[in-house]
Symmetry: C2
Subunit: 667 residues, 2 copies
């Protein structure tokens, strides 16, 4: 093999990747992440190779790593130390989503639920949670209910001053609770609360499920594991739990805003179930914001591994002879397959970071107890956008890993490329906290509600303002592809909103109920509406970020990246643009595709430095194909040589079998 060409490609760039990284991520963030990485590298328990561990082995390793991180004491509340929280989270998520899940599920899901729904009564428990004296799990989902959580079937019945938990059917058995199978001492569990024969609806409870010394489960509780799962999720102990007359003290009820009096009366300060729910609407977005980052991270890994490998891999060239072969990154088709996801890695990061800032502002207002019309609008807008961006980002992420694997050819399929494992790792992000198509309905529902309401649309983050006036059709291209794309998106979103809304009205008038109407407008209409709205906002926010970059060189590079991202996303809506009448005639589409191909080509000289600007440390990346030194084949062979002359025990059996066949043929 010839000498690696990666440095040659690095030199083609017009900019310094470290400067770009600092602008996009923030200097402090880059520094803090490097600190966490250094800490992990220094601990043998974080060492890794390309072995595939069994379910048992993987969980033991995660347990040991979790202990180490707890001992470090780095994992804090995001609201008390946001910068450190972000750096640790991103590093852990990139290192292993399974390890990161173990920490999150305890602190940020179980712990957050106890804090937000509990009261003074649960203060001691909160201290134990924060000090990691107990391990918590969050039990909402049941075998029969995932998306439709309002209908979960587990019951908590007030009886003689205690609460009695039951699962009335197989479908009511709790499942998917991380940390539950082996580790959890406590759980937050959701159940229908029955008091005095009346169902008071879904409530949250915190109960102890195991003895912290023997780890035996308490009476009336059966816990088990859900068996094997792909990728890093094999290391996460997702468990199921069945209640049969489990008795817990009354203090198990997480009683913020409601309670049961000792004599068995249910009291609540919520006026309605929907008021109770609306408080949690915006906060549901916390999880989604994290999952958007998973999509970004997937694009990051995919681009890093595949683009670096595409420079190491040389194949057909203009002339015959191996010496004339060129890196496959030179093929326009290879660029077209990979660069859009490189642009996505950068643009989703910028979008997500902006969203987190706006969301933090929103949460601060919620936490100080503000109650205003504007905050309620803010809540809805956050909900609409996070419900759209989570699907868009996670689909792109999984797609990018699939495309990267194929673009790396056969070697991409090796475990040591990590592309398939990463795809497995990221696959569930498409159904976490709501299957993607399911939560897209949240976005379109909110947008459709806006059309129905009277007056101008004016939301706190201004993502819907353009819907107030009818956008104009295509007239001509400008010199700025991003503005062109935004214009097209505004038209598209506006028209999809109009047509989806009028279709809904037609169905309503034909006598369909609202459930049927919502179902029947999804395909081609509401789904596209949600996606178009979301992508418009993503591009819009990244454009604003780029406008504010002072360094002219960096601004120029980011402009190229955003040009590609905008045209790549828009081209997918080309058919719908024609249908909605934004343009007519073949020329528009032909030109859009030409511009897209040009945007791909423009990124090419910058691509290797862009990869350096997003690539995780080699230790985190852990890919034989994607290492920063560009020596893919050396790393592959180094690993291959570990398996030299293996002779499994069954080879004796094979030798005997062949000999028997040989003898019998001679008879």
């Amino acid at each position: 093999m010839s000498a690696p060409l990666i440095d040659k490609y690095r030199k083609m760039a017009s900019f310094d990747w470290k400067k770009l990284k600092a602008v996009v991520e923030g200097e402090e963030h880059v520094r803090l992440k490097a600190e966490v990485v250094a800490k992990m590298k220094s601990e043998p328990i974080f060492h890794r190779d390309y072995r595939v561990l069994s379910r048992e082995e993987q969980r033991e390793v995660v347990h040991q790593r979790w202990k180490k991180i707890v001992e470090w004491g780095l994992f804090k509340d995001p609201y008390s130390d946001l910068e450190n929280f972000k750096a640790l989270t991103e590093t852990l998520e990139a290192y292993d989503q399974g390890t990161s899940a173990r920490l999150f599920l305890h602190g940020n899901v179980f712990g957050a639920a106890v804090k937000s729904m509990g009261t003074e009564r649960h203060k001691e428990l909160v201290e134990k949670i924060e000090n990691n004296e107990i391990v918590g799990a969050f039990c909402l989902t049941e075998i029969g209910h995932g998306s439709n959580t309002a209908e979960v079937q587990t019951t908590a019945t007030f009886d003689d001053g205690q609460l009695v938990f039951n699962c009335p059917s197989i479908g009511a058995i709790k499942c998917w609770a991380g940390n539950l199978s082996h580790s959890a001492t406590h759980v937050v569990v959701y159940a229908q609360l029955h008091v005095g024969g009346k169902n008071e609806g879904l409530h949250g409870f915190v109960i102890q499920v195991r003895c912290p010394k023997t780890f035996q489960t308490f009476p009336g509780i059966t816990i088990g594991d859900m068996g094997s799962k792909p990728g890093c999720w094999q290391g996460v102990e997702n468990g199921w739990m069945e209640f049969k007359n489990h008795r817990a003290p009354l203090s198990a009820l997480l009683n913020k805003g409601c309670d049961i009096t000792p004599d068995g009366k249910y009291v609540t300060s919520f006026k309605s179930a929907s008021e109770k729910q609306s408080v949690s609407l915006g906060t549901l977005s916390v999880g989604r914001l994290g999952i958007i980052a998973k999509g970004m991270m997937a694009c990051t890994f995919a681009s890093t591994i595949a683009i670096r490998y595409s420079v190491a891999r040389r194949q057909f060239g203009p002339e015959k002879g191996a010496e004339n072969e060129i890196p496959v990154l030179e093929y326009p088709l290879q660029q077209y397959r990979l660069f859009p996801y490189l642009s996505a890695a950068i643009c989703i990061r910028i979008f997500q970071k902006t969203f987190v800032e706006k969301f933090t502002e929103y949460m601060m207002r919620v936490m100080v107890g503000e109650k205003s019309e504007e905050l309620s609008e803010f809540s809805k807008e956050v909900h609409a956008l996070s419900s759209g961006a989570k699907p868009v980002a996670t689909w792109l992420g999984v797609e990018s890993l699939g495309e990267a694997r194929k673009a790396c050819g056969g070697h991409g399929f090796l475990h040591m490329s990590r592309l398939n494992t990463l795809r497995d790792d990221n696959d569930p992000s498409q159904t976490f906290e709501g299957e993607n198509f399911m939560i897209l309905q949240q976005t379109s529902n909110i947008l459709l509600g806006k059309v129905a309401s009277i007056g101008l649309i004016n939301t706190p983050m201004s993502t819907m303002t353009f819907l107030n006036s009818k956008p104009s059709k295509f007239s001509s291209w400008t010199s700025d592809p991003v503005n062109d794309a935004l214009s097209a998106y505004r038209y598209l979103t506006y028209h999809l909103l109009q047509t989806t809304s009028s279709e809904a009205n037609k169905l309503k008038q034909s006598g369909k109920n609202s459930f049927e109407v919502r179902n029947e407008i999804q395909v081609h209409r509401a789904v596209n509406l949600s996606i178009a709205y979301t992508e418009h906002t993503m591009i819009d926010w990244v454009q604003k970020f780029v406008e504010d970059v002072e360094d002219v060189t960096l601004k120029g590079v980011l402009q190229k990246v955003l040009n590609l991202f905008s045209l790549f996303l828009l081209e997918r809506h080309l058919a719908t643009l024609y249908i909605t009448g934004y343009a007519s005639g073949g020329k528009f589409g032909e030109e859009l595709r030409e511009k897209l191909r040009k945007a791909v080509a423009d990124v090419k000289p910058e691509s290797m430095a862009l990869v350096d600007s997003i690539a995780p440390d080699d230790f985190i990346l852990n890919s034989a194909l994607g290492a920063s030194d560009g020596k893919a084949y050396d790393h592959i062979m180094e690993e291959f040589r570990k398996y030299t002359n293996e002779q499994p025990r069954w080879v004796c059996d094979l030798a005997q079998f062949l000999q028997k066949r040989s003898q019998s043929s001679k008879l």
Copy 2:
């Protein structure tokens, strides 16, 4: 959970699924497959569960299963007993592609190469191969060369009456050879043949690599494994092999049409390297035809599991309350996500079966030694179509498994759903025998060649005849969506061919070499051309098959299936249809999408019986979500209960850790 609804859905169908199965697959094929399945069920070694095996365990199991199949003596040459071959192959492929690969690579790849390139000299070896007295591997690919096999770097140098094999660099090390790591006693290896200081080009050789008793490798040969791989491929021992002055006898040369005289002179009856290559052009399609079937099988598994589960899964209904929940299959969006792949499973099967029939006719003519202009055209057409259909079918297959997994929500991610494992199993079919985008170039190259040649296009399978006259633009929809789709495809293919060709000419005139030209016309042009040509042929052939079905009911059902398949595929080209000017105005696209939604809805009542008509036996399917009794939740819980109260050894460590934290917080 309520009683399973699957039988209610079965009763909605207008037809008898067993009759449909017999018409689509052939009665004999259905019967023979059932026989193989019964044989496998009766042998404990074929038993399986949902455990994830280690690399070592999986390979041992594959070895034991392989032995059993060899002992059965079922696996014969396809040309001597095609029906049995097809039934065994399909059953094994559905059961485990890893086991099937072990048999194929020995008999149909290694063995076929020795037979087709060898002579009388290799007769004894052929007998040993057929009698399974030796195990063979096929070594073409090298670390540095996959697609561009002409440039493989391993050398075989004539020296003192022997052949000396060497790998001059890391890149020249052979890899990806199945059966090689542990089992192979012999290999077919490709190397540049050097005689008297001259490189006579790439040749095939057969050499013994290991002692059949000790399984130690011979001097000058190092063999190793490639490490872990996803899915069933973990069970396939893909090895690497490095030569350092390995000496083999002269008889190692597979000397059909060429030879080395004992005094060291190279002689050949081939006039040119391209003549030598053209012989193998059509035969390359054997592998592709098999891989098309993998795509079909992937769609079959995906549809079966997801559609059956979608009836077991009930979620939101028109009214609140769990008793009002409806099966998620009722949602039009769920149908839209799943039914196209159900139609693909059936249509790809019919297309592939037709293709195999035509291909067998072609091979018969090749085998009797026919040399004619028409046969050479046949060869090219087979090559063009197989190079297009392999990508189209395998992309659809992998896509279907991804969509099915997501449509099954979280439970689809469990290992026991099998959807992710199946996706891993099928993932490499997208890069086997040429990365999909790479081999699509074969199709467009042949089509572009047709434009450049003089006279009418008239190929043996008539797949290109419509290119002789300019097809007309869209005028109006007829009552037959399939004919409508075919008209659109003819226009699309014709125009893509014209524009791609004129783009190529323009680039040529601007001074680009043919390599650059070919690279620069791929995106949006040549790629789409190859796909449009292929899909047109698929739909066309299935239409002809359906026309010949006599039973009116079955014909009606198949018509619904083909309507959906045609519109589903065509809709993906909607933007390009606008660009090429087939239609203008939003109405055309809106109507196409409306027709597509209607085609989806039309399949709904038939869907469960259609699934039964394609579904593999439960034993083969092996999915807790997709079992034919529709009791997904019972199967899930049955598996869950196996993991009740697991207490891994590290839980002691966890208990101590928590206690320590608790004590230290009290200090």
